[in-house]
């Protein structure tokens, strides 16, 4: 089932493409087409939207309720006073939405590849990197919409940030979302079948989420386990969460910005390389296994 479309992709991409002939307008049309498709897919899958919202809300309503008073012990930046645990984990839950959404949109790449839909995209005359970045941008926009829906419900629940904070987090969400989408894209290039993806989810999503500052401040972790603290410090997800957290309170965390931007470039380059038909991991896999 998977071998035939993969073979076609290969043959399609082998045709030399005069990419210089493409103007800015065509690129814009291509981008909006991919965006629209991703948006429509998201809108048509109402269960996916609800599922994407239920996950962080469960954490907020149930998990955070259990630990509500835990953090009324110390003030850590960017907070200026004592906060309830549910206030603390809200930026972490925004990060969680981006993380799951990023992985999910790359999951759809594996699905597309298996079902042959990817062929339609890859036979287009646009450069491969542009198609991948467009796909990622579409994924980021969809996940940001989910974050804002979550924040509205959280606000009704009593978790309020400063009014301007809702605007300030937009660039932070965008950059963090792009980083996580690129990571997902890189991972999806290494997976042959949909079934394998679940394993990677367990090996990537949960470690990234738990070994970060999403659920507990880093000084908490430092007290408990210094090695884990160091792992948290290099975890890109920690910095994505901190970037969002500081932005929510109108502050810019330069270190997190630098780390997230750096990881974004690395993951993007890695994903583009991996999906490059002549050099990437896809080709190698095809050489070995015969199916992409």
């Amino acid at each position: 089932m998977t071998s035939e479309p993969a073979a076609r992709i290969d043959s399609a991409s082998a045709v030399p493409i005069p990419s210089r002939a493409l103007g800015f307008g065509q690129y814009a049309i291509c981008l909006s087409g991919i965006m629209l498709r991703e948006g429509l897919r998201f809108l048509h899958q109402r269960e996916r939207f609800i599922a994407a919202l239920v996950r962080p809300l469960l954490w907020l309503f149930i998990f955070a309720a259990g630990f509500r008073q835990v953090l009324g012990v110390s003030i850590i930046p960017p907070y200026k006073t004592y906060v309830l645990y549910e206030v603390y984990i809200t930026p972490g839950l925004c990060g969680m939405i981006l993380l799951f959404s990023g992985m999910q949109s790359s999951l759809s790449m594996v699905y597309d590849r298996e079902m042959g839909n990817m062929r339609t995209l890859l036979v287009s005359p646009f450069p491969r990197w542009f198609l991948l970045v467009s796909k990622m941008l579409a994924g980021v926009v969809v996940s940001i919409a989910q974050v804002y829906a979550f924040l509205v419900i959280a606000r009704l629940w009593g978790v309020k940030g400063p009014a301007m904070g809702y605007l300030y987090i937009l660039p932070a969400l965008f950059l963090s979302g792009l980083m996580l989408c690129a990571l997902g894209m890189l991972l999806s290039s290494m997976i042959k079948q949909l079934e394998n993806f679940a394993g990677i989810m367990n090996f990537v999503i949960f470690p990234a989420y738990f070994a970060s500052s999403a659920l507990y401040p880093l000084w908490f972790i430092q007290q408990g386990s210094p090695p884990l603290y160091r792992i948290c410090l290099v975890n890109p997800f920690t910095h994505a969460v901190e970037l969002i957290r500081f932005a929510f309170y109108g502050e810019l965390n330069w270190i997190s910005l630098g780390v997230v931007a750096g990881y974004t470039i690395v993951f993007l380059a890695g994903a583009i390389f991996a999906y490059d038909p002549s050099r990437g991991l896809m080709t190698r896999k095809q050489d070995r296994g015969g199916n992409g």
Binding site: A65, Q69, G72, V73, K80, T81, Y82, K160
Partner: protein, 325 residues
């Protein structure tokens, strides 16, 4: 045209930045263990200065003109008078042993001090530094409240669990009202019709009608996730318009906001550990709480009832008073 727009926008931003609290008030915080007083600018929310005072400073108040701060130096057995312009101690008042809390008459001439160890309320004339009277009350007197007209004084005795109503002209106890265990603080409503008395161990606030001298309502508190024993009401502050009361709940680390009409708790505000006393800025826009165990004070925006910022002061902040100007 575009230039005009830009300059208009710039002006709007400048006005926005300059907005917020129009006046800078000064808050004086007594640090019980630090034997010091922190002076805090309420606009910048920063400690401007810390000065050493007598041993174990607790009760703190300010003269109506804002020129002198009066401070109970409990272990020095005196009330210290501090000049707010120089922050130097300019004198002391004979308070009797272990003064803890006191209240100034509305005209600023008389100070009423609770002497915890002697079961007395000492009446001091500030100008002559003379003790005018010693009024015997219940065991372990602590909370002191005075009616806006200055005619009625209320003292609470911790062990007797009573609120004693005292006529300030005759210096006699006219009524004693039983409240819940360990009453800590008494506060009159701005119209003088009611006295709100907090009971630390009882965990309630009793609202007493000043005319009938009867408890008209007992307010209970419940914070999700906290054991009832940790809820120990201490300081009470009522807004100048009489609509809202703020009650410091001690080790519960929260301040309760109560609607004075319905007596319903509208909100619990998270502040630092062991919140003890409260004070409004004169414009009523900000409430400051002292958090004894976390060594800080929390600024609360009274429009939204949200905590804005917590600021570290000296060791174990106990009381707070804010300059009238």
């Amino acid at each position: 045209m575009r230039k005009q727009l830009y300059s208009a926008a710039a002006a709007a931003i400048a006005v926005g930045l300059a907005g917020g609290p129009a006046f800078a008030y000064t808050a004086y915080v007594s640090n019980e263990k630090g034997n010091s007083m922190s002076i805090v600018d309420t606009t910048t929310m920063k400690v401007v200065k810390t000065v050493d005072v007598g041993q174990r400073p607790r009760g703190i108040t300010i003269s109506p003109d804002g020129k002198f701060v009066y401070l109970c130096a409990s272990d020095d057995d005196q009330v210290q008078v501090i000049d707010t312009s120089t922050l130097e101690m300019v004198g002391s008042l004979p308070s009797g042993p272990d003064p803890e809390l006191f209240v100034l008459s509305p005209d600023g001439k008389t100070l009423y001090v609770a002497n915890e160890d002697d079961n007395l309320v000492t009446v001091i004339d500030i100008a002559s530094k003379q003790v005018l009277a010693e009024i015997p009350v219940g065991v372990e007197p602590e909370g002191m409240g005075i009616s806006p007209d200055g005619k009625t004084l209320v003292n609470t005795s911790e062990t007797t669990s009573m609120a004693h109503f005292i006529d300030t002209e005759t210096h006699e106890v006219t009524d004693s009202v039983l409240v819940d265990t360990r009453p800590r603080f008494a506060e009159f409503t701005p119209d003088g019709s009611q006295v709100w008395v907090s009971a630390e161990v009882g965990g309630t606030v009793s609202v007493i009608d000043n005319k009938t001298r009867q408890v008209v309502k007992k307010i209970n508190f419940a914070i999700p996730g906290l054991r009832a024993e940790t809820i120990q009401p201490v300081g009470v502050s009522i807004t100048a318009d009489g609509k809202k009361a703020y009650i410091a709940l001690g080790p519960a680390n929260h301040v309760a906001v109560v609607d004075t009409k319905t007596y319903e708790v509208e909100k619990y505000i998270l502040v630092g550990q062991r919140v003890w006393h409260l004070a409004f800025t004169p414009d009523q826009k900000t409430l400051i709480t002292t958090n004894g165990n976390s060594n800080d004070i929390t600024f609360i925006d009274t429009a939204t009832d949200e905590p804005v910022q917590s600021v570290t002061v000296g060791q174990q902040p106990w009381g707070v008073v804010i300059s009238p100007k």
